[in-house]
Amino acid sequence: MAGWTLLVLFLVSIAAAFAGLFRAKAHQVSAGKQFHSRPIYHGLNIAVWTGVPAFIFLLLWILTQGAINDYFVIASYPGAEALSDSERSLLLSEVRQAARGNFFTDPTPQLLAAAEHLKSLHSLGAYAMIAVVAALAVVGAALGMRVIRPEYRARHSVERSMTIFMLVSSTIAILTTLGIVLSLLYESWQFFKLVPVHEFLFGLRWEPQIAIRADQVAGQGAFGAVPVLWGTAVVAACAMIVAVPVGIMSAIYLTEYADERFRAVVKPLLEILAGIPTVVYGFFAVLTVAPLVRSLAQSIGIDAAPNSAIAAGGVMGVMLIPFVSSLSDDAFAAVPRAMREGSYALGATKGETIRKVLLPAALPGIVGGVLLSLSRAIGETMIVVMAAGLIAKMTLNPFESVTTVTVQIVTLLIGDSEFDNPKTLAAFALGLLLFLITLGLNLVALRTVRKYREKY
């Protein structure tokens, strides 16, 4: 419904633009006076006045109509004031299903009345929306038509609107960050009301699978994040052990030894590794790498879990190779020619120049790159969700199964999610932790890289 209204509004705005354009042209001829703005700007001005207020209203309406409808339904439902939040949301979803004609049990008369109420609200809302949008569009168009005069500065008006649009657009990045921080903080705050902060940060047990409904069989619940962070560190370490040497070595070969043709072929091929979706890596880890790791480990007498940390971490490491490689590449390229040539002039071989001159000089850049990829490894989700374990364990053995922060976030939020339950809220607390850790790593990494750039 809203989609069609949007489309119609768009078409009407275009039509209004043409109407304004022709009217301004006709005016220009009949008035015989030079207009300040070209006719097209008068047309665009009308389009803006027709479309934009109605569009903003439509947007607000789409975002709020659900909540408003819910409010009215609950307000008119007998006895709803006494319900708790979760009972209320259960009731609402029941009413919504009933309004669509799906009944799970024999409906009570109240439920039927509420469903009817919701339906009438829906159709009323749709009519009201169309009426308001149409009114806004008509008023806008009429005002726009009225101002077509030689001295009206339509171009200025249109350009002002554009500037405002651009300004608003550029603040969306800030709004996104604010939204992330505020939503994480708010939900974590709710969580810390149920579970003390120190228990979350320093607790050594993580058993979040507690009952959401009274009739579920589940554990008592323990929300100590340390084992989860531990597992994250183990998996990330496995990833780094693969990604760092391979990435740096391939960067060295590509920048120092390889000829132009080899580089032109191999570099894009390496970049493909970064372009493959992570869900593909996850499936590959489960299908091929984990069984391989397991049988290899067993052949040398180590007992490996089917979802070992090393399988997930290793595959993640491969994904990060091009990342480390291209950042090291940049670091090598930033080392001044003079240093390299000075080393050659002293008779050093290529290998000695790389090891004794290039690597130390490029080290801060490489460290920055490694930190950036470490933050990626910590935030990487799908590979670990598919290939790592669910049970939080404090172990250093990479052949055992461990769990990570991202795995816990996803498993806690798939399925039943109730916003007043510590199980759901714990995911947001973990998300906040993850956000802060990766943000810190990124800031340190960027600072390292920048500091080093200033040196040369």
């Binding site: 939503s183 708010y186 030894y257 191999v266 869900v279």
Partner: protein, 431 residues
């Protein structure tokens, strides 16, 4: 003291010690080179194995074993005005029994085994064909009935006939039936169009990607419609109009940081804000697209700014010189000239968004939905989340389907990236 006394002994470069030393130094150089080669071959070998295994396990899902069953519906008890309520199960079962000589005399047990050869949805397939084309009621016609997953695996050689009966999922009786049907020549393995025209299903032989592909399409459409205009507008503002003050500095740092925030955190944002506070529907491509657009936005802004920066200032100055306003100069000249690069970056950003899984899981686009979405507000899955669902399914047939879905996803990614590269090579200008 003479000068000569302070100088060290001249080095005899040809001495054995020096030769050995030189040799060791060159060997170290070659070793380093070898390590580099090994690293590159490790990475590329992994890539080859990845693509190789996925192709090897996925290509078989692009064909589907089917039985071409000849059914005569003219004698069946079907009310042409009420096709939905006819006893399709009985009709189709009778028809299936007719395919095998002496099948009608089989014991109940064997008959059940025989019916299990075919997909359990066979009655609905025949019904839907008849509803689409009521003329089929008049007489005989051939219906393609997919075989059920275990038999499909058997036909593709995935199940070893030599295993003892208890260790494989098809019984000896079923293999016997299958061979008799095969002898009659009604078993075939045509291209599996169902993979693209069916939505998800619990039965591997019927599961397809239509719902996932259209879900991804709607989500990407929303993502494009939001992130493309907003990203370009933000980039123009920051590059051309913004005063250099603290606020714009903050915005810039923000954009760079946003590009490095883990994708799962965007999922949390979508769950808390779009679903929790605004009450938008769960699993809807609209919400998925909105979350993806927030992730694509930094990419587009960064690309657009770089593209605008690379347009020579002479172009803007020429436009300003003949009386264009600043807006006109940028929108009529700089932006069109930067557009090929911006489009290339946008396509690459959208390709990334297409492969993004974690945020979509959190907003519920991993639901089990057996029809394709008709719009952005209807619940659906997306390609990567469909892969995740199938990867989690226990039926054997889903392993091949998952690989096939991955190949389809990679195919779309290759297509998009090729388009981006072509666009760049064809239109990008170097100044």
């Amino acid at each position: 003291m003479s000068v000569a006394a302070t100088l060290p002994e001249p080095v005899n470069w040809q001495s054995d010690a020096m030769k050995a030393r030189r040799k060791a130094r060159y060997a170290a150089d070659r070793r380093l080179q070898a390590y580099g080669m090994i690293a590159i071959f490790f990475a590329l070998g992994f890539l080859a194995i990845l693509v190789g295994t996925l192709t090897a396990s996925g290509y078989k899902a692009f064909v589907q074993t089917k039985a071409s069953v000849q059914l005569d519906l003219s004698g069946a008890d079907i009310d042409a005005d009420n096709l939905m309520d006819a006893n399709w199960r009985g009709i189709v079962r009778n028809g299936l029994l007719g395919q095998l000589d002496g099948a009608a005399e089989l014991s109940r047990q064997d008959q059940r085994e025989y019916f299990n050869l075919f997909t359990s949805s066979a009655p609905y397939i025949v019904r839907d064909m008849v509803i689409r084309n009521p003329a089929l009621l008049e007489g005989e016609a051939v219906y393609d009935i997919p075989l059920s997953d275990p038999l499909d695996q058997l036909a593709k050689g995935e199940i070893d006939r030599d295993l003892p009966e208890s260790r494989r999922r098809v019984s000896d009786v079923q293999i016997g039936f299958y061979d008799r049907l095969d002898e009659r020549g009604i078993i075939s393995q045509p291209f599996n169009w169902g993979l693209f025209t069916n939505a998800d299903s619990r039965f591997p032989e019927l599961a397809g990607l239509k719902g996932a592909i259209s879900g991804s399409f709607w989500a990407l459409l929303v993502c494009f419609l939001i992130s493309f205009p907003v990203g370009i507008a933000a980039a123009i503002y920051l590059e051309e109009f913004a005063p250099k003050n603290r606020l714009t500095d903050v915005i810039e740092i923000n954009i760079n940081n946003l590009a490095a925030v883990p994708s799962v955190v965007f999922g949390l944002l979508g769950l808390a804000v779009f679903l929790g506070w605004f009450g938008l529907p769960r699993s809807a491509p609209l919400v998925g697209g909105m979350v993806l657009s927030l992730m694509t936005l930094p990419t587009i802004i960064i690309v657009t700014r770089a593209a605008l920066k690379s347009v020579p200032s002479a172009i803007r100055e020429a436009a300003l010189g003949i009386g264009a306003s600043k807006h006109e100069a940028i929108l009529h000249h700089n932006l069109p000239l930067a557009m090929p690069t911006i489009l290339t970056g946008t396509i690459i950003g959208l390709a990334q968004a297409l492969g993004e899984t974690a945020p979509l899981l959190l907003i519920g686009m991993n639901a089990f939905i057996t029809s394709d979405p008709g719009g952005v507000m209807e619940a659906s899955t997306a390609l990567p989340t469909q892969i995740y669902i199938w990867a989690d399914s226990p039926e054997r047939g889903f392993v091949a389907r998952t690989s096939a879905a991955i190949l389809v996803l990679l195919g779309f990614l290759v297509l998009m990236n090729t388009a981006a590269i072509l666009l760049r090579n064809r239109f990008e200008r170097r100044w």
